[in-house]
């Protein structure tokens, strides 16, 4: 089938009421969740996931993608208005967004955030459509050793860049990998850490782990300090963004979008670094660089295009290779699994209609993002005012229903709460949760490909360096480790100098 035929087949799958409604509903849920400080886009996607079980695969996945995109934009609303980023990706938006609010230009800042987000989203989606198929065709040459080295590389980079410390990232990933070994052995079918309990023989439920890890710690943090996440909402002001301003910032928006696309397509980097890089590049190149940090509209445009440019690109490794690009796509992979779909190169051969349906849906989602975002900006006051004393109990109940619905099993609810406590301890100790979850998903795949490679070679490790692809990924892994260690040492040195100066 040609690209056009595939796109037509995909369009046919999406052009129905359910899919369009799911997409619009997803964007709306995402914007609302992203706009509520204390909720995150990840949490919103995780909590929406159980509602997709009863849906058609394409409808369910579109709903989650809508939540993802809406959530990333929604996070910028409280970042600008109350100086509290709804998602970590919106942290850079505060730098110029909030000073604009202080100058009475809240409406202008939010308008630019929306325009930049939608433009970057569109560019990111187009990059996905152009790159994913090509990458998937290349990945068809991969065998178990190539996949093993690819997953190992992804885990290294995810563990290394997800937190302040490489070592803590590795510990987090190792916890996830160890937990993923619970259940029956992949080759021999013998028990591993099951305690002869039938509930554990299929391994820990992925959705219980992810909801526990991302939603429950927020409830615990709220109970620890019920006064947190309170901010004062500002009025929108009378000024609105003009087309001339959009045109002036267009270069920064496109640059930020490409930065987002590039960083988003590398597993594990995510939206926050992309937003900061886009912001610093815009400041470096702007004629108004001295105005950055004091309420420069180009700063808002750059950071928002940087973080939204990631949204489509993170799906490139997910769809083409079956490797989640960030923690939200790791959650979305759950929706594929629930519907017996395995993202990766074979999906392009076996279910091209779903792949191209997703592409079409993503393009449509940019339009919904613009329409719903415009309304959400004006309605933010009502969203932000949802009392925390009602929001968090509701989240807990939602978590329990969602987790129970996966297998109709109360045991999973217990696992979710236990993972919540683990997630909270990790939060307190500064251990990033993203490597844990991604390693938990990739763990069985990593082990499976390793053992298949060993079966193919009769136990010889040489197969893991059998060709240029494996060499390529080994080299990337080594370069990543060296780069992360060097940056860690540099940071330590700077801290030591700072510490010495203070003394």
């Amino acid at each position: 089938m040609t690209l056009l035929e595939n796109l037509a087949a995909g369009f046919e799958l999406v052009a129905n009421f359910e899919s369009v409604f799911a997409l619009a509903g997803g964007v709306l849920i995402g914007v609302i969740a992203g706009a509520i400080p204390g909720l995150s886009a990840t949490m919103a996607v995780a909590l929406t996931l159980p509602f997709t079980f009863a849906m058609q695969p394409i409808t369910g996945i579109l709903l989650l993608l809508g939540v993802y995109k809406g959530g990333i934009f929604g996070g910028s609303i409280p970042a600008i208005l109350i100086k509290t980023p709804g998602t970590p990706a919106s942290s850079a938006t505060i730098l110029d967004g909030h000073p604009m609010v202080k100058n009475g230009q809240a409406g202008k800042a939010l308008g630019m955030a929306l325009w930049a987000s939608c433009t970057a989203d569109l560019i990111s989606n187009l990059a996905l459509i152009l790159c994913a198929g090509w990458l998937a065709a290349f990945a068809l040459k991969f065998g178990p050793p190539e996949f093993f080295t690819l997953i190992l590389f992804s885990l290294t980079i995810i563990a290394g860049v997800s937190g302040d410390s490489l070592l803590k990232g590795i510990v987090s990933a190792l916890f996830g990998l160890i937990l993923a070994t619970i259940g029956l052995d992949l080759v021999y079918g013998t028990n591993r850490f099951t305690l002869n309990d039938p509930n554990l023989m299929g391994g820990l439920n992925f959705i219980a782990v992810l909801i526990g890890l991302f939603a429950i710690p927020e409830i615990l943090a709220m109970v620890w300090n019920p006064k947190s996440n309170e901010g004062e909402t500002q009025s929108l002001g009378k000024e609105w963004v003009t087309f001339a301003e959009y045109k002036r910032c267009f270069k920064s928006i496109v640059r930020g979008s490409f930065i987002g696309v590039f960083l988003g397509s590398i597993p594990g980097i995510g939206a926050a670094p992309s937003a900061f890089l886009s912001y610093s590049e815009a400041r470096r190149k702007s004629p108004n660089k001295e105005n950055f940090g004091k309420g420069e509209i180009e700063g808002v445009a750059a950071s928002e295009s940087g973080n939204n440019g990631v949204a489509g690109a993170t799906l490139i490794p997910l769809l083409a290779l079956g490797i989640p690009g960030d923690v939200i796509t790791a959650v979305i992979i759950g929706a594929f699994m629930v519907h017996n779909l395995q993202p990766g190169p074979m999906m392009f051969l076996n279910s091209p209609d779903i792949i191209y349906g997703l592409f079409m849906g993503l393009i449509i989602s940019s339009v919904f993002l613009f329409l719903i975002g415009s309304v959400a900006i004006r309605a933010f006051r009502y969203v932000a005012d949802i009392p925390r004393g009602i929001l968090f109990p509701a989240v807990m109940v939602l978590c329990v229903y969602g987790c129970y619905a996966v297998n109709n099993n109360i045991f999973d609810v217990g696992v979710m709460f236990a993972m919540g406590w683990l997630g909270y301890v990790m939060l307190c100790k500064g251990i990033p949760a993203a490597p844990f979850l991604i390693a938990f998903i990739l763990g069985p795949l990593l082990e499976d490909n390793f053992r298949q490679s060993m079966l193919m070679s009769g136990g010889s490790g040489e197969i893991l360096v059998r060709g240029p692809i494996t060499w390529f990924f080994w080299t990337l892994t080594i370069i990543t480790i060296v780069a992360i260690i060097r940056s860690g040492l540099g940071k330590k040195k700077a801290e030591a100098v700072e510490h010495g100066n203070q003394e």
């Binding site: 509602f51 079980f53 009863a54 302040d164 070592l167 803590k168 590795i170 510990v171 190792l174 990998l177 160890i178 080759v187 021999y188 013998t190 028990n191 591993r192 850490f193 099951t194 305690l195 409830i219 615990l220 943090a221 709220m222 109970v223 620890w224 300090n225 019920p226 006064k227 009392p387 925390r388 004393g389 009602i390 968090f392 109990p393 509701a394 807990m396 109940v397 939602l398 329990v400 229903y401 129970y404 619905a405 109709n408 109360i410 609810v413 217990g414 709460f417 919540g420 307190c428 100790k429 500064g430 251990i431 082990e447 390793f450 053992r451 060993m454 136990g459 330590k492 801290e495 510490h499």
Partner: protein
């Protein structure tokens, strides 16, 4: 200077690694006796991960001794925080235990109210209404739209 979050994480990782290597893997993983190659054995992967965890734990402990400051933002204790956290732990355990007896809907309503009280909601009336409405709406969706069997409990059954 000792960096607490690094040192304690490293120590916990090392202890977990030793526990896995000497207790959990020998007693919790069954390996068939006819496996000739160690790399294909069901114990190989957990053992490799446990060793790596131990090594990373040691590295974290060393790193904790040499680090100059802890980058973890401390969660400062607030008034009554330990009591609230302990109560939440009990609430979670009771939530799971009560589902088979009271049913998911009624247990959720009670838990909703308990958590709202715990975090001292400033809107008690809205919380009470939400505590009734939200579990019921979720029940309607999962039971009647998604067709799932929601536990009903032993006392009061819903249609």
């Amino acid at each position: 200077m000792l960096n607490n979050s690094y040192f304690s994480t490293g120590l916990a990782s090392l202890i977990l690694s030793l526990f896995l290597l000497f207790v959990a893997i020998p007693y919790g993983v069954t390996a068939p006796s006819n496996v000739t190659n160690i790399v294909l054995s069901p114990v190989f992967w957990p053992e490799v991960l446990s060793v790596l965890l131990g090594i990373t734990g040691i590295a974290l402990m060393i790193s904790g001794r040499s680090a100059v400051k802890d980058s973890v933002a401390e969660l400062l204790p607030t008034k009554g925080c330990y009591k609230r956290i302990a109560f939440l732990a009990v609430l979670m355990a009771a939530y799971v235990a009560a589902i088979p007896v009271l049913g998911l809907v009624w247990t959720s309503m009670i838990s909703f109210v308990a958590l709202a009280v715990l975090i001292k909601t400033s809107h008690p009336r809205t919380a009470l209404i939400s505590a009734v409405v939200i579990p019921l709406v979720l029940y309607m969706f999962f039971a009647h739209v998604a067709g799932m069997a929601i536990p009903q409990g032993e006392f009061l059954r819903l249609p």
